[in-house]
């Protein structure tokens, strides 16, 4: 047993092994899916939960954070009152008509969801897995993306809920699709959701993922969205993860594959809540595509938010933009790791990555780690990362004009974060995001 360095499993890892054995028979999927789950779980078992020794997880020790592994959430019971609660839990975004898809504990609930427009097909993950169509299984597993990531492997092994959205080629979906993820108020549980957005050639769609947690207990979430953007298709994506109870853990993966002349613009707003890891893999498979990943994180207390990106330029003539802002108060920890890889053939790549953070407290920590790996010789790639405090001169200037200090600071912070939210195409969505940031700011000093 000399070579077995992972001999000692943590309590949570032991529980996950037991939970997989227990749940395996009831997890959805035909035979090829079962094989996919088993292979993923074996990969997880040999790697264990990610620790600081794993380079990509250097600042987030999931093994330490997960003292326990919670049981997989069962399918929610039909609850007529949810229909009423829905409007209260997730009020409509002002001035924006959307097609709503509702998930409870990761499970797609058709009865709570809107009918989808022409050219858009929605299937529950369980249903799609049961059919086990080979092309679908391959798309869902996004080969070559996030390989070796134990958290993603766990998601593949346990995926229990989620939704498959197919947008037919050439379809311009006028109304954004709004995925609303709710949590039931049951005992502590884990949710492993896996969703897939497949956008056909030349199609256009906006997907907004909004999550609301009403759980009174800690949660363990592991969520993955695969986005496949075919040639000349355009996708706008906004993700607002739920604010979980402290001591909760959340790994939210996004795997995006872009075809030629495709465009993908994704924004994430993190508002803290326990440990949250946002990991995004984006790959340019076709030439002349544009991909933008942007986000803002506003953190306080002991929030821990990790944004880790891997952008792979495989095809030539593509443009990537990464733009992240982080505001940290209290004893919070922020992480930005961005890696842009330009393959040998990916000439004329145009890449720009920026991460800026403001620390509001002496006890907050920001870790910025931008990386470029360039194997082509004719590219323009740059990155910038800053960590600063609020500018005292600016604060004084605003105060000298009559703005009380908290108001002056909020104004400056909002302006700082706005530079990220400005990357969101839709104005009503921008206004919505700004209002959430405003709520966060208004709670400053109120505690």
């Amino acid at each position: 047993m000399l070579g077995d360095v992972k001999a000692a499993h943590s309590a949570a890892e032991e529980k996950l092994v037991a939970e997989f054995a227990r749940a395996r028979g009831s997890l959805p999927g035909a035979a090829p899916v079962g094989a996919l789950r088993d292979a993923a779980f074996e990969a997880f078992k040999s790697a264990g939960l990610p620790t600081r020794r794993v380079e990509a997880w250097h600042y987030t020790d999931l093994r330490m954070a997960m003292r326990d592994a919670l049981p997989v959430a069962p399918a929610p019971k039909a609850d007529a009152s949810l229909k009423q609660k829905l409007e209260k839990l997730a009020p409509r975004i002002a001035d924006l008509e959307t097609t709503r898809l509702v998930l409870v504990d990761g499970y797609f609930v058709a009865e709570l969801s809107d009918v989808t427009p022409k050219g858009v097909t929605v299937t529950a993950l369980s249903e799609a897995l049961a059919k086990g169509d080979a092309a679908f299984v391959e798309a869902l597993s996004a080969p070559g993306m996030g390989q070796g990531d134990a958290a993603l492997a766990l998601n593949t092994a346990f995926m229990q809920g989620g939704v498959i959205i197919d947008v037919a080629a050439g379809t311009h979906v006028a109304q954004p699709i709004e995925m609303i993820a709710l949590s039931s108020e049951m005992s502590a549980h884990a949710v492993y959701a896996r969703s897939l957005l497949r956008v056909g050639k030349g199609a256009q769609v906006t997907l907004i993922e909004r999550e609301v947690s009403t759980a009174s207990q800690i949660e363990q979430r592991n969520h993955a969205l695969v986005v496949s953007v075919a040639d000349e298709a355009q996708v706008e994506h906004v993700f607002v993860p739920a604010i979980l109870k402290s001591a909760s853990t959340y790994v939210a993966s996004l795997l995006a594959i872009l075809g030629a002349k495709a465009s993908f613009n994704s924004f994430t707003l993190v508002q803290g809540g326990g440990l949250l890891r946002r990991q995004i893999h984006m790959r340019f498979d076709g030439e002349h595509a544009k991909g933008q990943l942007a986000g803002a994180s506003v953190l306080r207390n002991k929030d821990h938010a990790d944004t880790t990106l891997v952008v792979q330029h495989v095809a030539a003539h593509c443009q990537s933009r990464e733009y992240f802002k982080t505001v940290l108060d209290g004893e919070s920890t922020g992480i930005y790791q961005g890696k842009v890889i330009v393959a040998p053939g990916a000439q004329k790549t145009d890449g720009a990555m920026k991460s800026h953070a403001i620390l509001l407290s002496d006890d907050a920590t920001m870790n910025n780690k931008p990386e470029l790996e360039i194997f082509a010789d004719d590219v323009v790639c740059g990155h910038g990362a800053t960590v600063a405090q609020l500018d005292e001169d600016q604060v004084f200037y605003a105060m000298a004009r009559g703005l009380p200090k908290p108001v002056a600071e909020s104004m400056l912070l909002e302006a700082f974060v706005d530079e990220a939210t400005d990357r969101v195409e839709s104005e009503p969505v921008r206004v919505y995001l700004t209002s959430l940031i405003g709520q966060w700011l208004s709670q400053r000093g109120a505690a």
């Binding site: 500018d391 005292e392 001169d393 600016q394 004084f396 200037y397 605003a398 105060m399 000298a400 004009r401 009559g402 703005l403 009380p404 200090k405 108001v407 002056a408 104004m411 400056l412 909002e414 302006a415 700082f416 706005d418 530079e419």
Partner: protein, 249 residues
């Protein structure tokens, strides 16, 4: 009216203001001149309440009320205004948004109703027109990409909207060409009022050709060492500060 009595102030343990006394009456325009390092800008920061300056003695009374315990925002609401030598750029906040927030914060602090948007717009437009501030500047981020002259005009526009009772102009002439100096000075002169007093800080007599002071004070080593009428400025221009500061400036 503002009365400064035997004021002592320091920053990082370094004494800058050393027993300064000065009174500016309602309607009066007082000029402060002095060599570099005499404490003129520090005085403006101490009066307006900038954090980091420690007042170790004396008092500052605005219309009889000691303002030293108030923060900068509270002093602003009481009527203190500082026109900055180097106005700050505020990226991401449009000039209009900033002006409205400041004006309403002050009104709120004084227990007055906030201005409605149309009412506010009317005031801003009228004020901007008088100072030759184009409308598109009001929609841009405050002071971002503004020229030196535009920034100073924006300071005067803010002053005209906030209607202070005591305004400090800290080297408002620095970085201005003759035309900009004239426009800014006319803006200030238009705000002269029997109920409003000004403290004009400058290195050069030139500004005082445009904003004619009632009194001129010479500052050196953190004190007022000479007070006179407007002619004192001409005398300083001709002979330098050496007669007043004891040693060559």
């Amino acid at each position: 009216m503002i009365e400064i009595r035997n004021l002592h102030a320091e920053i990082d343990g370094k004494k800058i203001i050393n027993g300064l006394s000065l009174t500016v009456n309602d309607g009066e325009v007082a000029a402060i001149m002095g060599p570099n390092g005499s404490g003129k800008s520090t005085l403006s920061y101490v009066i307006s309440g900038r954090a980091g300056y420690e007042v170790t003695g004396g008092e500052i009374l605005l219309n009889g009320e000691n303002i030293l315990e108030m923060n900068a925002a509270e002093r602003a609401a009481k009527g203190v205004f500082l026109a900055f030598q180097y106005p700050l750029e505020i990226p991401g906040v449009t000039t209009m948004t900033f002006l409205k927030a400041c004006l309403n914060a002050q009104r709120k602090s004084r227990g007055e109703a906030e201005l409605t948007t149309p009412d506010f717009m009317k005031r801003v437009k009228a004020g901007a027109e008088k100072l030759g501030v184009p409308q598109d500047m009001l929609r841009r981020a405050l002071n971002v990409g503004f020229s030196g002259g535009e920034k100073k005009r924006m300071e005067v526009l803010q002053m005209s909207l906030l209607e202070p009772t005591f305004a400090i102009l800290d080297e408002t002439d620095s970085g201005l060409d003759i035309d900009a100096l004239r426009i800014v000075s006319e803006g200030v002169n238009a705000l002269r009022d029997p109920k409003r007093s000004f403290l004009v800080i400058t290195h050069y007599q030139r500004l005082l050709d445009y904003i004619v002071p009632d009194t001129v004070h010479v500052m050196s080593k953190g004190q007022i060492v000479k007070t006179g009428a407007k002619e004192l400025a001409l005398e300083l221009e001709a002979n330098g500060y050496r007669d007043f500061v004891g040693e060559a400036a």
